[in-house]
């Protein structure tokens, strides 16, 4: 089973840290000495240990009792390994949530059973969906505080069902739980006999994640292997990860931007020749002709070409304290290819709390918008919605080299 990466969205009040602590604790993933440190830090009467303290790693976070940055937590069961992106929930830390979501297959939306769907739930759901997450779990927490009420559970489920059409999730699951008491976390709770689904951990263990093998075949050259010693004098291999789809020996391919056509003569994986390589594999490709190929070049099958353009409409999530400047030259990193780019126009800003678009002249930290950009040479890409491996890029400030924006390309 492949590792499952998920992000937990919500804040401390919703019991987010308690939920993470519970998953780690109940799967025996917390080391006892780390619990010891926690015990000396703080004791709580309603629980032997404060599970929420497990997750906050920085001094400032413990002092302020909030999560500022994304922390990655690891646990595994007999079935699967899990990576949790623990990101802060407040609007002022939206960029951290974007970061966490970008590395997740699933989003767990934490809802306080007493409060139901809030503006924050909507914001987190829409950000998760925008970032390409296809599966959502609504964890309706603190179900103990509403007397394990089936009615409350269904009311919240209906609330979310009524808004889900604006979202791009393939699958949404609803689980009533109490992170504090452990209801429906590892095993089914006897107190929610009306609930037909599986406990949270079981859902996570069995979730199938998006496979990129069935998508269009995409490969970008990451590194050219050209040993200079005599044994491998004529060796010239093109190393990289199969981003999506598959490549086989004998495939007719096109090298972009040169538009050369050639044939794959050999595929190596871990120094062994293989006939077929699939999404996720690190491979070294060899071609029939000796063509000039370098880092960042795109290799695709001749009948399945990506967009090719230097005018791109794209989502941007702004990550920097300095606002976006129209007309300024930024560096754009499209995986292994760096080009220079100008933002020509802010088309519309997305108000993620009410899911409305509005006109905007300024984009600053945590803003999400649709913009038009122009690059100094064509990019070869897909729409992010269609392929989240080739439809994204980051914007870099050319003076201090900070990562200032995340781009998700729209259809061209």
């Amino acid at each position: 089973m492949k590792t499952l990466r998920f992000i937990t969205a919500g804040n401390v009040d919703d019991g987010k840290s308690t939920l993470i602590g519970r998953l780690l604790y109940d799967s025996d993933s917390i080391h006892t000495d780390q619990l010891g440190i926690l015990n000396t830090l703080k004791k709580r009467e309603d629980l032997d240990i404060d599970l929420s303290l497990i997750t906050d790693g920085l001094r400032a976070e413990r002092e302020q009792g909030i999560t500022i940055d994304v922390a990655y937590k690891y646990f595994s069961t007999k079935k699967r390994k899990f990576i949790i992106a623990d990101a802060p929930g407040h609007e002022q830390y939206t960029r951290n949530m974007i970061t966490g979501a970008s590395n997740s297959d699933v989003i767990i939306l934490l809802v306080d059973a007493r409060k139901g769907i809030t503006t924050q739930t909507k914001r987190h759901a829409s950000i998760g969906s925008l970032m390409g997450i296809k599966k959502a779990i609504l964890a309706i927490n603190k179900i103990d505080l509403v007397a394990y009420s089936e009615e409350v559970f269904y009311t919240i489920k209906m609330q979310f069902e009524s808004i889900k059409k604006s979202l791009d999730f393939d699958e949404i699951m609803y689980v009533p739980l109490s992170a504090l008491n452990g209801d429906n976390i590892v095993s089914k709770s006897g107190k929610t006999s009306w609930y037909n689904g599986a406990p949270l951990l079981e859902i996570l263990e069995n979730l199938q994640i998006t496979e990129f093998i069935n998508k269009e075949s995409r490969f970008q050259v990451q590194w050219v292997i050209r040993p200079k010693d005599t044994d491998y004098h004529d060796y010239r291999g093109f190393a990289g990860t199969i981003l999506s789809g598959s490549y086989a020996v004998g495939d007719k391919v096109k090298i972009l931007p040169g538009h050369f056509e050639t044939i794959i003569t050999k595929i190596e994986k871990n120094q062994q020749s293989i006939d077929l390589s699939i999404a996720g594999d690190n491979v070294v490709l060899h071609f029939n002709d000796s063509i000039d190929i370098g880092r960042g070049d795109t290799i695709v099958k001749i009948d399945d070409l990506p967009y090719s353009s230097n005018q791109i409409n794209t989502w941007v999530s702004w990550l920097d304290h300095e606002p976006l400047q129209l007309g300024k030259v930024y560096n754009l990193q499209h995986r292994f290819k760096n080009v220079r780019v100008k933002v020509e126009k802010i088309n519309r800003k997305w108000n993620f709390n009410d899911w409305e678009f509005s006109k905007a002249h300024k984009i600053g930290l945590n803003d999400i918008a649709q913009i038009s950009i122009r690059t100094n040479q064509p990019l070869f890409f897909d729409a992010f919605k269609k392929n989240s491996k080739t439809g994204n890029a980051i914007l870099i400030d050319e003076t201090n080299f900070n990562t200032v924006g995340a781009l998700m390309f729209l259809e061209n």
Partner: protein
């Protein structure tokens, strides 16, 4: 275990991806090699990433002067076997050069002093990226570390000014004088490392497996006797079957009682053990809750 090993392939793919990205984006990278299992795995991954070519970076060992003899021997054996370049920085030289003061006490750690030596080596060789074997599961300050972690010319880590790292697009651009610490096995746990070692049959220093060793018992921890740790009259000295879970300085790394003499037996040990790696074996992380965060802020790995 029903969990198949294809999750190990995922980890390997990710690490190779990061190593190639480092080679491609930086002018002068280096691989920080401590002689421990994590950096041995790193070397193994690097060989896979660039084969049949040579490694596009040298190995750098910051020798604290307090290392186990077995660690140093294994280092030289491995370097000779793979035929790659090794640069050694001696903390003893830095101590003389800067008149550094050793931390007091019977079990002094040279962790803080190591940083001086490392920064000198970085400046001398103009390294712009240093690849390390740190993992996010080791410690909670490390849980917040990026894959490409930008440091200024003092080597300082500022957790509040970290670059956002989206998807697996890695931004290695830095201003002159700054450098980047690269962590290809960030997402690995101790158990993953051992499972990987088993799957690939990677050779390790003998210290990792059960052997007889003379130790003193200090606060329930077993510290090997050596030139640096000489038993005092009141010490309880015992000979135990032990192995090392981490390889640090002889002065501050504890052994764990164990009969595990094969990789599989070590894995069984880890599955049963509920104490963290650093918590069980390091005498220097206990001082404060934020010990690692503070060291990293000052330029530590």
């Amino acid at each position: 275990m029903s969990k198949s090993t294809n999750y190990l392939d995922q980890l390997e793919n990710e690490a190779i991806y990061i190593l190639r990205e480092t080679a491609a984006q930086f002018e002068k990278p280096a691989l920080l090699f401590s002689g421990g299992k994590d950096s041995i795995v790193l070397v193994h991954l690097a060989l896979k990433a660039f084969s049949p070519g040579k490694l596009p970076f040298p190995l750098v060992h910051i020798d604290t002067g307090h290392n186990f003899l077995e660690t140093i021997k294994f280092r030289d054996y491995l370097v000779n076997q793979i035929g790659e370049r090794l640069i050694i920085g001696n903390v003893n030289d830095s101590i003389k050069k800067y008149n550094l003061k050793e931390s007091p006490g019977r079990f002094p750690s040279r962790n803080a002093l190591q940083t001086y030596c490392l920064l000198d080596i970085i400046h001398e060789h103009e390294f712009d990226a240093c690849i390390g074997g740190a993992r996010r599961d080791e410690e909670k300050a490390r849980a917040k570390e990026r894959i490409f972690s930008v440091r200024d010319d003092f080597g300082q880590w500022d957790p509040k000014l970290q670059r956002p790292e989206l998807w697996n697009i890695l931004n290695g651009k830095v201003q002159k004088g700054n450098n980047v610490r690269v962590f290809p096995i960030s997402n690995w746990t101790e158990l993953d490392v051992w499972n990987y070692i088993q799957k690939n049959n990677i050779e390790l220093p003998s210290l990792y497996f059960s052997h007889d060793r003379e130790c003193i018992v200090h606060q329930d921890k077993l510290v090997a006797t050596s030139d640096f740790i000489v038993p005092l009259p009141n010490d309880k000295v015992i000979i135990e079957k032990v192995r090392y879970r981490t390889l640090g300085d002889m002065t501050c790394t504890a052994a764990v009682p164990s009969k595990a003499s094969s990789i599989q037996e070590v894995i069984n040990d880890i599955l049963k053990n509920r104490i963290s790696e650093r918590g069980e074996t390091r005498l220097d992380d206990k001082i404060s809750e934020a010990a690692m965060e503070d060291r990293k802020r000052q330029g530590y790995f």
